[in-house]
């Protein structure tokens, strides 16, 4: 499931291309171009989430299901609204003071994922995003790299194209301190 990210990004981008492509043709855009736009947006959002959350060891099933749910919720919600056109009558039933479709847009497509997804992020964070062990591991590897750099020529500056002439090529003050503390060259 952790390999779904890129196919979803491709699918979303192609659906968006199709939607805008037909919208650019003279005349009224076909009604399905808005639906393609909704599903393209949902697929792209889900794909980006998949890619962003996938770690070296893969992507946990609960996280993957959450992202599939987000994509379906956004695309499906917008599609439902697109499928039910027309205007509400003056005595139309209200939900929390709003006509049903307006309430569905604001509370369903808008607020609901805004409550669920950030809470899910907080709950899943330690195990599936960044744990204290992960951070310690990164800091340890950074110290090791700092030591290797200290032994490199040219005063410890890395010289490959990726890192010269930019601060990314030098060490962070923390890394320098760590290097000194570990007995590395100043």
């Amino acid at each position: 499931m952790d390999r779904l990210g890129l196919p979803l990004v491709w699918t979303g981008t192609l659906l968006l291309t199709l939607a805008y492509g037909f919208a650019l043709v003279p005349g009224d855009p076909p009604p399905w171009s808005s639906v393609a736009l909704a599903w393209g947006t949902g697929a792209l959002l889900a794909g980006l989430l998949f890619l962003g959350a996938t770690r070296a060891e893969g992507l946990a099933t609960p996280v993957a299901l959450l992202f599939v749910g987000i994509g379906l919720w956004v695309a499906g919600g917008l599609s439902i609204l697109l499928a039910v056109p027309g205007l509400d009558a003056a005595d139309a039933p209200l939900f929390l003071g709003l006509p049903r479709r307006a309430a569905f847009l604001l509370l369903g497509v808008g607020v609901a994922p805004g409550l669920v997804v950030p809470v899910a992020y907080g709950v899943l964070f330690e195990r599936h995003a960044l744990g204290s062990d992960d951070l310690e591991r990164l800091r340890r590897v950074a110290r090791e790299v700092a030591d290797e750099v200290a032994m490199a020529p040219y005063g410890g500056e890395v010289t490959d194209e990726a890192t010269t002439a930019r601060p990314g090529g030098s060490l962070t003050p923390e890394a320098r301190e760590a290097r000194s503390a570990d007995g590395g060259s100043p």
Binding site: L6, V9, W10, T13, L16, Y20, A23, L24, P29, P31, S33, L37, A38, L44, L45, L48, L49, L51, R55, A56, I70, V74, L78, L81, L82, D88, A89, A90, L94, L96, L98, P99, A102, L105, L106, V109, G114, V117, A120, Y121, G122, E126, A129, L130, S132, L135, R137, L138, V141, A142, E144, V158, D160, A162, A165, R166, P167, G168, T172, P173
Partner: protein, 501 residues
């Protein structure tokens, strides 16, 4: 009945209260500026607040710099004019904070943990090993920043003129002067902590105003009944927008947020990466609270105009001030007016800092000639950029409108693929990044320039930002798939780990 802006915004009896609240606000800002200037000693302090901010500061800084005067002034006006469709500008905000947290926040902060990056172009240069990509990124940021700042500064001029009757020109220069006073002295550190005060002010004021909205007529149901009886299209999901236009806005403002440098840049600054855990929840709650003011005022004024409680609003800029003056206590109206100025200034200070970094750090590095004293030159660039934006706003309204249009779109079309895909997809290549950045720049600028010259305009519902973003994604995905440079494998172990944790 026409209501001139100056008269509607602040009637004479309310002026002393408004001026008093503004004075208190300025004192708070001045205090923060003095403190921040004393603790700003390095480029890291000036551009990244010393990478030492906490979760609350990050939350409110992100809130304040995301929401400009649009949410308080332009948003209610637009909603009053087009109906519920206007909510598509802000509705994605409920999802985008979690999106940016999953996709970029951790990656950016972890890269800052192992490398002394100052800016997003630094990260791009590092990831792709390409000064060209870093330079293109900086050019896109610089162009977008100037555009955004000019519109914000112009808005500040209008607001200060309307509230304090300074005159538009003086309003621009006074507002710019206030922002410069703290942005030059304390850099982003002053910006972050004024944003903390400004963001909290915005959230509290919005919640209170919404309570007064619910007090109109019979609450939300009463407002809906009034509107449905006279103008049902207003409360239909897209308002007077076409479905294509409305859904297109959702696409641009959901995915596009991943390319907004003034917000993404703040992820470098949080002291402890593990504190990102509850960032999406806190900032989403704060944003939804602030959005209430846009929705509430827009709907309430529409209902009040339809039932004759208020006269028809001829100048849409009057929608929010009219409600505040008519329906809320003067002290709350005064706080909101200060909140609007605060929102504008917090956006300007974020943009000017990001722009100064692009000018004094990213472009010189991309050209292979990094400058030595980045702190001093950062301060000089801050003044230069702010004065340029003020001059643009002062001299040419047409240019302000043009620049303002493409700011968001330019950021989205150039930065989203190189960051959101590039930091999370191992096969992304340097050629893909350069192609995507170039495609985004050329498409956005080309389409906007052609529209400005009247040569070509896009059909209703299709925006240059949306098209350029799709073109940029296609370029990134297509070129990266066709090329292979093994760039990710060449990265040092700690960077590789930061990209895969």
């Amino acid at each position: 009945m026409t209501l001139p802006v100056q008269e509607a915004m602040v009637p004479p009896h309310a002026r002393p209260t408004v001026i008093g609240v503004a004075a208190i606000y300025l004192l708070v800002v001045a205090g923060i500026a003095v403190w921040a200037s004393r603790t700003t000693r390095t480029p890291d302090d000036f551009f990244l607040a010393g990478k030492g901010i906490g979760l609350l500061a990050l939350t409110f800084a992100a809130l304040a710099s995301t929401f400009s005067s649009f949410t308080f002034l332009g948003g209610p006006s637009l909603l009053y004019l087009v109906g519920l469709g206007a909510m598509m500008f802000v509705l994605p905000a409920t999802l985008t904070n979690a999106l940016s947290a999953w996709v970029l926040a951790k990656r950016l902060r972890l890269i800052a943990e192992v490398r002394p990056v100052l800016t997003l172009p630094d990260v791009v240069g590092l990831r792709y090993g390409s000064r060209l990509a870093q330079g293109l990124c900086a050019v896109a940021i610089l162009l977008g920043v100037v555009g955004y700042m000019a519109t914000q500064v112009a808005g500040l001029g209008v607001l200060l003129d309307a509230v304090f009757q300074t005159g538009y020109g003086w309003g621009i220069w006074i507002g710019t002067g206030v922002v410069l006073a703290y942005a030059v002295a304390g850099g982003i550190k002053a910006g972050i902590y004024t944003d903390l005060a400004q963001g909290a002010l915005m959230a509290v004021a919005s919640a209170l105003v919404f309570l007064y909205v619910l007090d109109v007529g019979d609450g939300m149901a009463g407002l809906s009944r009034t509107i449905l009886a006279a103008e049902p299209e207003f409360l239909s999901p897209w308002g007077s927008y076409t479905p294509l236009a409305a859904v297109s806005l959702y696409f641009v403002f959901s995915v596009g947020v991943l390319g907004q440098p003034h917000v993404m840049h703040k992820f470098f600054m949080i002291k402890e990466p593990l504190r990102l855990r509850w960032y999406p929840l806190l900032v989403t709650v704060a944003m939804v609270t602030v959005i209430l003011i846009m929705f509430g005022i827009g709907v309430a004024v529409k209902a009040m105009v339809l039932d004759g409680t208020l006269p028809a609003v001829v100048d849409p800029d009057n929608v929010a001030p009219l409600f505040l003056i008519e329906r809320t206590p003067v002290i709350l109206a005064a706080v909101v007016f200060s909140g609007i100025a605060a929102a504008v200034m917090s956006s300007v200070d974020s943009f000017v800092n990001v722009g100064a970094a692009a000018l004094t750090h990213d472009l010189p590095v991309a050209l292979g000639r990094p400058i030595q004293d980045e702190l001093r030159w950062g301060r000089i660039a801050t003044v230069a950029l702010a004065v340029s934006a003020a001059l643009t706003a002062w001299l040419s309204n047409a240019l302000v409108v043009f620049l303002g249009i493409f700011g968001y779109g330019l950021f989205a079309s150039t930065l989203v693929p190189v960051l959101a895909l590039g930091l999370n997809w191992k096969r992304a290549t340097r050629a893909g990044a350069v192609a995507s950045l170039g495609a985004g720049l050329v498409t956005t600028l080309g389409l906007e320039l052609l529209a400005l010259m009247g040569v070509f305009s896009l059909p209703a519902g299709v925006t240059a930002a949306a098209l350029a973003m799709v073109v940029s994604f296609l370029a990134f995905l297509g070129v990266s798939s066709l090329t292979h440079d093994g760039q990710t494998d060449e990265l040092e172990r700690d960077l590789q780990l930061a990209l895969t944790l």
